[in-house]
């Protein structure tokens, strides 16, 4: 929509990056607040931050690598550097590495995950606003009231041509994530946050994929997009940790 914030003298600040940065700041402030509220000791606090930083690096790599896999490109450094990023790629490798690093640092994984999930949700919500401003991850053409047109030079403009109204799917997702964030913070018990997030986001993402207009790639099943396949797995994973981890969570609740 508006890719750059022009400050004059040739300084153009990419709004996508700026909004993602703002989301990350809000996410970290919320994480700090959570750590204070739950009286987490300093060692666990430190370990969560160290795990988060290392997991973020893996997450970024995962987001890039999955993009090349979806698009069935050859994986090499040059293509990975030039490719875009996918949320699910980052989530899978990020969550996996976060789990492993927590194991190495002997941090309670349930506490670490449930503590960071609200920050992930709010960061993702801001990230989708960034997507809307950059014009990526766009929707399909529509004639309904919510339809938007993108300016000349933007990715949807080049994809569909001028004056085509499309679904602002980035904003749909952003609104959903903001609502999910407040619901998770206010109404979901601490131990069930990760499971709740996996289930609700997985289901939402599965259906919102039908409104996406950009190239969705191929993975395993031709009739579903790669993101829909991962959404199904994520939802099942959410249910499994909800059921299996129930008795473990009771012990953790006592520890907090």
């Amino acid at each position: 929509m508006h890719q750059y914030l022009e400050l004059g003298n040739g300084i153009n600040i990419p709004l996508y990056n700026l909004v993602i940065g703002f989301g990350a700041i809000v996410g970290f402030l919320i994480l700090e607040k959570q750590i204070k509220e739950k009286h987490i000791d300093f060692d666990t606090d430190k370990n969560i931050y160290i795990s988060l930083i290392i997991a973020s690096i893996f997450s970024f790599l995962g987001a890039k690598v999955f993009e090349t896999i979806y698009k069935q490109q050859i994986i090499n450094l040059h293509i990975i550097l030039q490719s875009g990023i996918t949320f699910y790629g980052g989530l899978i490798l990020g969550m996996g590495s976060f789990y492993l690093i927590n194991l190495i640092l002997k941090t309670n994984n349930s506490i670490a995950f449930n503590m960071t999930v609200p920050s992930l949700i709010i960061g993702h919500a801001f990230g989708r606003i960034g997507c809307f401003l950059a014009g990526c991850c766009f929707g399909m053409p529509t004639e309904n009231y919510f339809g938007v047109t993108f300016p000349n030079g933007s990715i949807p403009f080049m994809h569909y041509g001028p004056n085509i109204m499309i679904h602002p799917v980035q904003l749909y997702e952003s609104i959903f994530l903001f609502i999910l964030f407040f619901y998770v913070i206010k109404f979901v018990s601490f131990n069930k946050r990760t499971a709740f997030y996996c289930i609700t986001y997985g289901i939402f993402r599965f259906f919102i994929e039908y409104l996406r207009g950009d190239y969705r790639g191929v993975l395993i099943v031709n009739s579903l997009s790669p993101s829909q396949v991962i959404s199904v797995i994520l939802t099942l994973f959410g249910f499994s940790i909800l059921i299996i981890g129930d008795h473990l969570n009771k012990n953790i609740e006592k520890a907090i």
Partner: protein, 209 residues
């Protein structure tokens, strides 16, 4: 002589002193409370304190009085606290680090492209072919590594103030180098990292056990 462990009744800081100092008056290095060194290990329990019961209860902090210590003074001993780490209190390094980091990546690409252009002009004038990619790659990677370092330094600014400050100053230097390619966005990034680094060192710090 064995060591004696005990806690400050006011700030709960943990101290270890030589048992030959039992009964001597000591001063807590953190809150300056004077404490009589007890004659046994009380590492987990607070010494008995008597709070004034004649005053009505208020929300104001009440100064503890020691009932089991006579205040006939001997030489006051300055103690060194054990197992204490310093933690920052400001969110400024985190904010500066994240904004600098997310702007540093496009700035690095911009610097790489500008440097490649400069290299291409140089190649054209000298009749060589290698400076374009070398210069471009150098500024690109310098900017990217600087942005990542600044981001990491900023995020850790509260947990590890001094190392984070050093990392952020290093990131300032790396982003500053890419300014040679004439990229003003890198200037903003370098200023953000510099401010973040300065805040890492100067922020108010508190002890954590």
């Amino acid at each position: 002589m064995p060591d004696i462990k005990f806690n400050c009744p006011k700030c709960n800081g943990e101290f270890t002193v030589d048992s030959s100092l039992v009964g001597r008056l000591a001063e807590c290095s953190q809150c300056k409370t004077r404490i009589r060194i007890p004659n046994s290990n009380v590492s987990t329990e607070q010494p008995t304190i008597v709070l004034s019961s004649s005053k009505p209860q208020t929300n104001e902090p009440i100064e503890p009085q020691f009932s089991n210590y006579s205040l006939g003074n001997t030489k006051a001993i300055k103690m060194k606290q054990t197992n204490m780490a310093k933690k920052g209190t400001s969110n400024v390094p985190m904010i500066m680090g994240i904004i600098g980091g997310v702007l540093g990546v496009p700035a690095a690409f911009c610097s790489g492209a500008c440097a490649a252009c400069i290299g291409a002009f140089s190649d054209a004038s000298k009749g060589t072919t290698n400076q374009t990619s070398e210069l471009g790659n150098f500024y690109l990677w310098m900017g990217i590594i600087g942005a990542i370092a600044g981001l990491i330094g900023g995020i850790l600014g509260k947990k590890f103030p001094v190392p984070a400050g050093v990392i952020m100053l290093l990131a300032t230097f790396m982003s500053g180098i890419t300014l040679i390619a004439g990229n003003l966005l890198a200037l903003i990034v370098a200023i953000l990292f510099l401010l973040g680094g300065a805040f890492c060192f100067t922020q108010k710090k508190e002890d954590v056990a």
